[in-house]
């Protein structure tokens, strides 16, 4: 290790470093910290919901507060926890996997993070300013335009800002993968996680604009008196539902596809086998993304689109089971005959297969339009989407964190605590949600504040709540593990798992900020493994050692996002008093001013001289 990396720095210097950083690995840290914070917040909200439902006619929280809880739990988990953590993993790993030194637009990368962070904070400010949004995470317009107070306004403004950040992230990853792959790294040699990042970014690019427009429409209706959803003036609230689900269905694939890629890498590494059916896996991912855009109306079967539209969307929905099935079988075939290592990362991957498959099967059940009339808005739906989102996305996130912790933080998470986390979470997860299938089939509706005694729902709800406590315990153990590892964790070699792909081929753990002193030459799929098998043990450089060009850090992304944050308050409160226009215009002007500064100040980046690289290599 170089001396500079181990020097102690003051807290202020570290803080300034992170506020101005445009290094993709540090932005990944920020995403993980921000996303982790909101994950804990959303988890607390979930526990409060489950405590309220622990027994019939409970009065732990009031009905109005319960509505705020369910709304914020959903919104927080989807937009502020799962997506940022995924963007964090992509940021940390994808550039390394394709052998790049950074992403295409490091400045935008940082801006994307700060927009997400300020958007999330703005949304959560609502708790202290007269109540959180309470129209459900889907915020259907018929409810949302009549919701009193400013809760829904915070939803609109917060998600608008956070969504803009996500869109930037998507474009950035696309350009990075198209333009910055290392020599020899063709598209069909990219690890599955890089592929999944690419396809997910395409989904982000095409799905988020629909949400942007939808939020604008709701904002205009609530804050500026327009009539999109005002039936008296000819408006139509179904527009909200269509636009929301045109965004919302691709969104669930945005949440799961990166993890499909991650699991492929994990299964392959810990089975010591090349991924079975690589090409099929790539095309299955594309097919899922493609079909994912054509099924949004299966969320709207009971709206009354008519039997023809319902049938088309039902068939398209069931078709998605085919590429997903291909993936499940390929993962099983990858492990078949492999030399399997079972550690905590692999446990999450193994636990994922049955859990996600159950969620997939209930998905096909829900996809049947006629049956959906029975399931609609019951706990069966709740059970289904928690099986895919928790059983897929959250399991995947934990898997990825355990697997890539050495790359991201230069330590290995404690195995014993990792396994304890897995088993308690796995048991708690199935306890909580498996029983909810039956609660739903027995007719328990979702989003209800209380249920009545002696309707056969008491025991199921009690079991469900106990499961939630198990999951909370698991998360607490994980947090302890993080602190324990930071203090006493083992410092690994750059390649602790006998890896196959380029993120394990860096000079140190964590990698130096320029990633690779010399860009590696890729000679096939699983490039590091090829070199190991041929006895080289490390990557062949594709270029002579020379000066490296790196971009400069900047505080502007933070300031710009702060401007939009202030403008957000202006938008929300200008309906009460016109003095708030000051905040609106002031914030906007500040953000635009930062943009002008950015474009008027030439930033050519800096060079790391060859001599310094040689010195650090010693």
């Amino acid at each position: 290790m170089s001396v500079t990396a181990t020097q102690k720095r003051s807290v202020g210097a570290v803080l300034w470093d992170y506020l101005t950083t445009i290094d993709h690995k540090k932005i990944a840290h920020l995403y993980l910290i921000g996303g982790g914070f909101f994950f804990i917040l959303g988890g607390l909200e979930a526990v409060i919901i489950r405590i309220q439902l622990i027994k019939p006619e409970n009065d732990f929280i009031s009905a109005g507060f319960y509505n705020e809880m369910i709304t914020m739990h959903g919104t927080t988990m989807i937009f502020l926890a799962a997506m940022p953590i995924l963007l964090g993993l992509m940021n940390a790993i994808m550039p390394l996997q394709i052998g790049a030194r950074d992403v295409s637009f490091p400045f935008l990368n940082s801006l994307g993070f700060w927009l997400f962070m300020f958007g999330g904070l703005l949304l959560n400010c609502s708790w202290f300013l007269g109540g959180a949004p309470d129209a459900g995470w889907t915020s259907y317009a018929s409810l949302a335009i009549d919701s009193p107070g400013h809760g829904v306004d915070f939803y609109v403004a917060g998600l608008q800002i956070a969504g803009a950040g996500t869109l930037m992230g998507g474009i950035n990853f696309l350009a990075t993968i198209v333009n910055m792959r290392a020599p020899g790294m063709t598209y069909m040699r990219m690890p599955l996680f890089a592929w999944a990042t690419f396809i997910t970014s395409v989904l982000i690019l095409f799905a988020f604009p629909a949400l942007t427009v939808n939020l604008f429409l709701l904002m205009f209706d609530r804050m500026f008196g327009s009539a999109f959803f005002d039936v008296a003036l000819g408006g139509n609230t179904i527009i909200w539902q269509h636009l929301f689900w045109i965004f919302g269905h691709p969104e669930v694939y945005i949440l799961i596809l990166p993890l499909f890629g991650l699991f492929s890498d994990v299964f392959s590494t810990f089975s010591k086998k090349r991924l079975f059916g690589y090409t099929a896996m790539v095309f299955a991912t594309m097919l899922i993304a493609f079909l994912g855009f054509m099924v949004w109306a299966h969320h709207m079967f009971t709206v009354g689109l008519g039997p023809v539209a319902n049938s088309i969307f039902a068939i398209a929905t069931m078709a998605i089971a085919v590429p997903t099935g291909i993936k499940i079988f390929n993962w099983l075939a990858t492990m078949w005959g492999g030399s399997i290592t079972i550690n905590s990362a692999m446990l999450w991957a193994l636990g994922f297969i049955p859990s996600f498959t159950i969620g997939g099967m209930t998905g096909v059940m829900l996809g049947s339009a006629v049956a959906d009339y029975q399931y609609h808005d019951t706990y069966f739906v709740i059970a289904h989407f928690h099986y895919v989102i928790v059983g897929g996305t959250v399991f995947g996130i934990f898997c990825g964190l355990h697997y890539w912790w050495p790359v991201m933080f230069g330590r290995i998470l404690h195995e014993g605590m990792g396994k304890l986390t897995f088993w308690t979470f796995f048991i708690g997860f199935h306890m909580t949600f498996f029983i909810q299938h039956f609660l739903g089939l027995m007719g328990m509706p979702r989003r209800y504040w209380v249920f009545l005694e002696d309707q056969g729902l008491d025991l199921g709800n009690l079991i469900s709540t106990i499961g939630a406590f198990f999951m909370s315990f698991a998360v607490i153990v994980f947090i302890i593990n993080i602190f324990y590892t930071a203090a006493k964790g083992e410092r690994p070699s750059p390649d602790p798992y006998d890896g196959r792909t380029l993120e394990w081929a860096t000079a140190s753990s964590p990698p130096p900020h320029y990633n690779f002193a010399q860009l590696p030459l890729t000679r096939g799929l699983d490039p590091l493994w090829i070199e190991k098998m041929e006895g080289n043990g490390k990557m062949t450089p594709a270029e002579p050692l020379g000066d490296i060009h790196m971009p400069n850090g900047s505080i502007l992304p933070f300031l710009m996002s702060l401007g939009f944050f202030i403008a957000g308050f202006g938008f929300i409160y200008q309906v009460d008093h016109s003095a708030w226009y000051l905040a609106l215009y002031g914030g906007m002007a500040f953000a635009l001013g930062c943009m002008v500064v950015r474009s008027f100040k030439d930033d050519h980046g800096h060079h790391i001289p060859k001599e310094e690289l040689e010195r650090e290599a010693d």
Partner: protein, 207 residues
């Protein structure tokens, strides 16, 4: 500095906008952004189509739209698209002053377009009392056309700040990609306008 030199070579390469990695990134990034913009405008067009007859007893599209002004606006914007093609032509020939001239003309035509649009909106409001709040049709109309107008305004600010910033510097490999991305964005604005005049004004006129 060696670095500045590399951005000011003796002979400009054939495609100065794509000669550096940064240029390639900007080029790709802007195209991808336009792919997303297509969905953004599709959502607005879809909303408009769903609400175009929801006039709530207010003025309807065939009563208020006049084709004359819209035709003038269309010609202004189409011509500005051609002038920005000319600007890029001169950029490839490394003729900086002509490029600036044509970009200046592009900006002027854009200002003309925007002035017509503001006049048009003011006309609807004062003559017909047709506002953003009068009906769902009004909301959808002003939102769709206004979003396009906002894009024009943003493009104008963009090109003017580029021209000011690079007034005394000449063409180099650092600013060529910036001019090029602006030109792509400007063409895309024109693409959207083609659909607006077709779907909103022409189809609105026939009812």
């Amino acid at each position: 500095m060696s670095h500045d030199h590399s951005l000011n070579p003796e002979t400009m390469p054939q495609d100065p906008e794509k000669a550096t990695l940064e240029g390639k990134n900007k080029f790709m990034g802007l195209w991808f952004f336009l792919g997303g913009e297509a969905v953004l405008f599709a959502s607005l067009f879809g909303t408009y189509l769903a609400l175009r007859n929801s006039t709530a007893d207010g003025p309807a599209s065939d009563e208020i739209f006049g084709l004359g002004l819209v035709f003038v606006m269309t010609m202004l914007l189409l011509t500005s698209s051609l002038t920005s093609v000319y600007a890029m032509y001169h950029m490839k020939n490394n003729d900086y002053s002509k490029m600036v001239l044509w970009l200046g003309i592009t900006a002027l035509l854009g200002v003309g377009f925007l002035a017509c649009e503001i006049y048009e909106f003011a006309h609807y409001i004062t003559e017909y009392g047709f506002t953003f709040r009068s009906s769902a049709f009004g909301s959808a109309f002003y939102t769709l056309v206004g979003f396009h107008g906002g894009h024009v305004l943003f493009g104008l600010c963009w090109v003017i700040s580029l021209l000011i910033r690079n007034a005394k510097r000449g063409l180099n490999l650092y600013n060529a990609p910036k001019f090029n991305t602006f030109s792509l964005y400007w063409h895309f604005i024109d693409v959207i306008w083609v659909f607006i005049f077709t779907v909103v004004y022409l189809m609105g006129k026939v009812g």
